[in-house]
């Protein structure tokens, strides 16, 4: 395990093409490894980032992923923000269901990411954009 964080660790990654999806999840995995997350957690983090970053490309075209390591409630958390100024999600409840897709995809992105992370939330406004916030706790 690494020691206390002297300052908040924050990485911003623009997402506008498929390669950025790979870069974002690679960066997320490296950060998690460096912060002492278990192997099962690093795989979950990388996979969840891949899902939400792909959503940005497919639905909004461009956006960003922000990775942050924070100390809170006596534990270390890796926080992933995925945000875009895309069309937004009209029906969030359905968007969270397995297999519901408006873009001809698999419709598994959001539900998958939620399953992989310890905390998950989506805020979306039609015509303004979407922000997904998800966290993994270091065990």
């Amino acid at each position: 395990m690494t020691g206390r964080l002297s300052e908040p660790l924050r990485v911003r990654l623009p997402v506008s093409e498929e390669l950025d999806v790979v870069l974002a999840r690679t960066c997320g995995r490296e950060l998690a490894l460096q912060q002492g997350f278990r192997e099962a957690a690093t795989g979950a983090i990388a996979t969840a980032i891949s899902e939400v970053a792909r959503n940005i490309i497919v639905h909004a075209g461009t956006g960003e992923i922000v990775l942050e390591v924070v100390e809170g409630r006596g534990r270390r958390e890796l926080v992933v923000l995925a945000r875009d100024r895309g069309p937004g999600i009209p029906d969030l409840h359905r968007a969270m269901e397995d297999g519901y897709s408006t873009a001809g995809g698999l419709g598994l992105g959001l539900s998958s990411a939620r399953r992989l992370m310890d905390e998950f939330g989506v805020v979306s406004t039609v015509g303004k954009g979407t922000m997904v916030t998800m966290k993994k706790w270091a065990a």
Partner: protein, 117 residues
């Protein structure tokens, strides 16, 4: 980045060298499908050792590779799924149903040879 596909007798080995984009994966699917016919392959090994993530899209594409190859008369073995990748797939309930898997390339080749008619 295209995935190199090697030929070992009647087996095609797709050796993924690094993390792949969705487009790279679709290209691999198309390349393999074409090469199964061209080389009259009976077996396909997809080595995913270097693959960092098998998310919903990648899992579906790999399954698609295996099903397509089977319809063309070749059996597919997926080898080298890393522990953290496997953990995440289990958590997601993603399966490679009906697709043979093996620990590594040697085991995958042995599996194809053993079950050869």
């Amino acid at each position: 980045m295209p995935v190199p596909i090697l030929r070992l007798d009647d087996v095609l080995v797709a050796s993924i060298q690094a993390a792949l984009t969705d487009q790279d994966l679709l290209q691999l699917r198309d390349d393999l499908s074409e090469k199964v016919g061209r080389f009259r392959a009976r077996g396909v090994i997809v080595d995913v050792t270097a693959l960092d993530v098998l998310d919903s899209f990648a899992t579906r594409t790999v399954r698609g590779i295996a099903y397509t190859a089977r319809l063309r008369g070749a059996r597919t073995v997926v080898v080298g799924i890393q522990p953290d990748v496997a953990f995440a797939m289990v958590q997601l309930g993603l399966t490679l149903e009906g697709v043979a898997t093996a620990l590594d390339l040697d085991e995958g080749l042995a599996l194809l040879r053993r079950d050869a008619p």
